[in-house]
Symmetry: D2
Subunit: 343 residues, 4 copies
């Protein structure tokens, strides 16, 4: 049995890690930190864990890493870099899967530009591997620090990277419109996230400056071998879970479908639908699965690509567990095979 700690267990991605790890089978939860709730039971914060046997919430400094094999870090941006640097200094053999954005960008200049300050742990930034499992599987296996990707990013990149790599899509024409449920915004008390502000409506947010854009830039440019800039516009949907990318671009839709179908034929967590079929976010709810669809537009020479996943599972905690499985040489799907909950 591996021993796991979760930093930042009081947020939604933290709770989702607990849900997955409790039924993983080869991991036990050794410590759960939540600084402002230290001393409370997890079941007080999340009623679904009410009757379960879990470690009491603690501060980060109270976590004894000596008995921990893997640290999941679900802290907010800002505290993460120091916390992980401290942990790896204390125990260099520790494996870390970070769910924040702090180690996703490999270029320090890009980091400073998008996040407004110099990185606090640049050596670790250099060491970290971008944890888009299906794309960087080999590098993930050999690292001690996985930078788990953003949810919008995972959704858009899974179909785009094979197409860009195969030069099957006109990268100058890519438009990504992304729609996400509310759980991706976390559990912080903000007016804009109140039920009455979110239900019965729809709107774009983070227009022209959402930070996940920087991950798209990095990974699409890496796949293309040259700079690729796409138009990316996220939207909020009144739902809890689910993220959905609608991608338009010039290219041969049938060829795109063939490439993606072949590329993902043996992947357990990416399903390419039949040509012309369109996915729905609710059909992957609660699972680690991504559904991808390709349709030919009625405008000649254009293609429509749809991709959807559960932002808390494949878009966050599920992919984190998938990466942990890789790092420790376990079967990659261990603990991740539960089916979607629909309706």
């Amino acid at each position: 049995m591996l021993s796991a700690a979760v930093y930042g267990a009081s947020g939604y991605t933290g709770a989702e890690l607990v849900r997955l790890l409790l039924r993983h089978g080869e991991v036990r939860i050794a410590a759960l930190s939540a600084d402002s709730n230290a001393g409370r039971r997890m079941g007080e914060l999340f009623g679904q864990f009410g009757g379960l046997d879990l470690p009491m919430l603690s501060t980060i400094t109270q976590v004894d890493l000596s008995e921990v094999d893997v640290l999941f870090c679900a802290l907010p941006h800002g505290t993460t870099q120091t916390a992980i640097a401290d942990a790896l200094r204390a125990k260099p053999t520790l494996k870390v899967v970070d769910l924040s954005a702090d180690f996703r960008l490999t270029d320090p200049a890009a980091y400073a530009r998008w996040y407004g300050h110099e990185h606090l742990a640049p050596q670790l930034q250099d060491e970290a591997v971008y944890g888009l499992t299906e794309v960087h599987r080999d590098a993930i296996r050999g690292t001690r620090l996985v930078a788990n990707p953003g949810c919008h990013t995972t959704t858009a990149l899974l179909p785009l990277i094979p197409l860009v790599a195969a030069d099957a899509i006109d990268t100058d024409t890519i438009v990504v419109t992304s729609a996400t449920g509310m759980s991706g915004a976390g559990r912080g008390a903000k007016v804009g996230m109140l039920f009455s502000e979110v239900s019965e409506g729809y709107h774009a947010y983070g227009v022209a400056n959402h930070r996940h854009t920087s991950e798209l830039d990095q990974e699409l440019s890496r796949a293309a071998g040259r700079e690729v800039l796409v138009t990316f516009t996220p939207h909020l949907v009144p739902m809890n879970r689910g993220i959905y990318a609608t991608i338009t671009a010039h290219g041969d839709a049938a060829r795109m479908h063939a490439i993606l179908s072949e590329h993902y034929a043996d992947e357990p967590f990416v399903t390419v639908l039949r040509f012309g079929e369109v996915p729905q976010s609710r059909h992957v709810r609660g699972s680690n699965t991504t559904h991808v669809g390709v349709v030919a537009d009625r405008v000649p020479g254009k293609a429509l690509i749809f991709s959807t996943l559960d932002n808390l599972v494949k878009g966050a905690s599920g992919q984190a567990v998938q990466n942990m499985n890789l790092v420790f040489g376990l079967d990659e799907g261990t603990g991740l095979r539960q089916l979607a909950l629909f309706p």
Copy 2:
């Protein structure tokens, strides 16, 4: 007082017409048809009308048009052409506002291609005026048959037409992603519209073949003076009311904003937000207002345009009343000034 009849009062657009006409002030409701519910009270079908004095639902043939000045036709596609041709034959001085798609396309070939059969009333098709009020105001004033536009179409065209007309947007690069609430799908009992099929999820529908596309083709080409084909992809959002277009294209965003701000400065039902502001569908819920926002993309030379309205009001019954006001020489905003209901 004008005397109005509504054909197809048992659907959502029919009920919305009743809501608006009951408080219009210069119209009385003379007849309400709903063939399969003839003999029932409107309050049995729509609890909100429970205590109100309204005509009993009747069949179309029971409606006495001799006392009717304006006929709103909210029938499903297919029955409309015959019903309107019959009504205008019986009473040639009648004014008709049709909320179906039957008279929106002026080109008989386009109609046959998109709807799969020859038009049944081609002379009326020729006579009908496309009822996008702010665009075709003068022609609407002089007609007896207004073809009220589709909801997706109204949303996208209100910002696009002035930009296309001013040659301020690269028409080859326009991508329209549209998201709509469920009331636009009507009150027919279909599995895909059940609460559990629609809530807690998001998906595209009508991909590459939604019939509103044909209206975009017609009106954008008319504004441009040449054929314009755009990529248009509608999506379903778990909300009742609201439709939201996210439009990306090459062009100078600041210039676009200036054009739209000036163009709509005096329009009571189109509000252009400040440059960089993004609208939300919930802020126009229940009103006849359209909110338009323009933002410069971070990709150089690209613009993001957002447009939102209530699909049942400005996207259907409100615009129908606005058109009726025009046809009869009333103040255009009569009965349409109620504010949005938020939250």
Copy 3:
């Protein structure tokens, strides 16, 4: 034209007052206070007011009451007593409609017990009239301080008071289960009100100690002429607007229905459905109407009573305007006749 000020315009009841007053016809909005947002435009806080001409938000102390006829007070509990005492001291002829709970209880001991401290303005507490319009209409006409009732309370009392007064219901057996939408909880940023905490679920809250219980005690005991204690349990429903009371008690359901039908026959804002019909909250959404239904239980001698209204309209700001109309001798329904928005 009456001149109105709103204290606390940045909350949902404040915004709802603005919505109603802007279309009232005999009132102009002279001042809007929101201390922590002073200096901002109302349209920045509520997008639906974006293009409208409204006073800038100010602090309370900046409001010049000399030009104000009526003050609507939508402040949180605690600040209200002082703010109203100050206002009435500055201008004793001012009329005040208070939407907080501060002046609803006439018994100082009850106030202290339910709110945990002595009342800060006991003379005003004595002077205030409980603003359940249909019940206390005459007293409201003659007062300068109306204590607008709670939303749960209005919903339950409208059917219960005539039945208690007529001795048609066994007061020892009354069980009130109430279900409310989220807008009643206000616009404060609290974790428990986030979309993901409220959607896709249902639960009771304020069990056995909700403060609206004290209003039920006061008004039911007043109607009965003896102490009446009922079991009252509120629940949260994932919807914005609407409140719904399900009331069970021993008594003759048919007689109850006859009493209520007669009692409310001429009331514009209370509709008693036919015997056996059950109301739905959505059919009163956005209107000032209350729908009441009575059904005989299958348990002999028991009745089921249902009552529903829009918590922000008849449950708060609409009833406040109704009371203002009474106080100033206007037609009671002025500005309150808009129909429900369904769907």
Copy 4:
């Protein structure tokens, strides 16, 4: 490995059975019937099963029962009695778990009264065991026909039966107000179940005549040893999953809590919260767990009892699998240990 067939796989309870059985570990799915969809893939009807290996949908008559150990019957009322009688005649050793209401009432007269016709398989009605697992565990073990209980009934009975059996509750005063999500209404296309008819609102339904009442009568009377009639009122909540009973009655709340805590101390699927705690339906979403809370009312001598579960899991397909486990001597929790999905 057991071999299972599902009759009626195209409904929500059918799909939920497939979800659970696919990950059960000791069952393989041998046949799936859905008469009107015979010949189609399950993934066409439910996108979440898109990439999975499942039997093609067939008609009932095409199912070869010779290789089937357990038949789950999720057919609509009416077809069930004949289908099960036929199956057991064809293969008397078959075990059947019926999810319809057809075999829940043991009294033929009660059945005829509530369902409007004589039972078509009265010998089987006599043989069937009411499948409320925690209550009738021993009888379930020995039967070949389990009548899986209704969702409202399971929710209310789990707390009520131990209290009634211990004479700790005044049975004459029990009022059950139940609130359910939409998935319990099935996947039939009905206007009243459309998104726009259900979202953003709340209402009672089946008032004074819901058929689950007959199950409450039967089981509460059986537990009490005398006739018990309770007031039961179901409501619809705009959510997919979850059912929630709010129960009021005279009795000593602390004693009730002690009885329930002890009674359910070792039950894996019933968790009694601490005294005074109130459950939320979302905290059991997707799991087989029931959460029960007990609070003392502020009215002396009265208690409030809350019970919640997922109507598709413990309220239907999960309890069906739990019963199957019992019948075949498997560990009762096999395949049912996944945690709730929140948010």
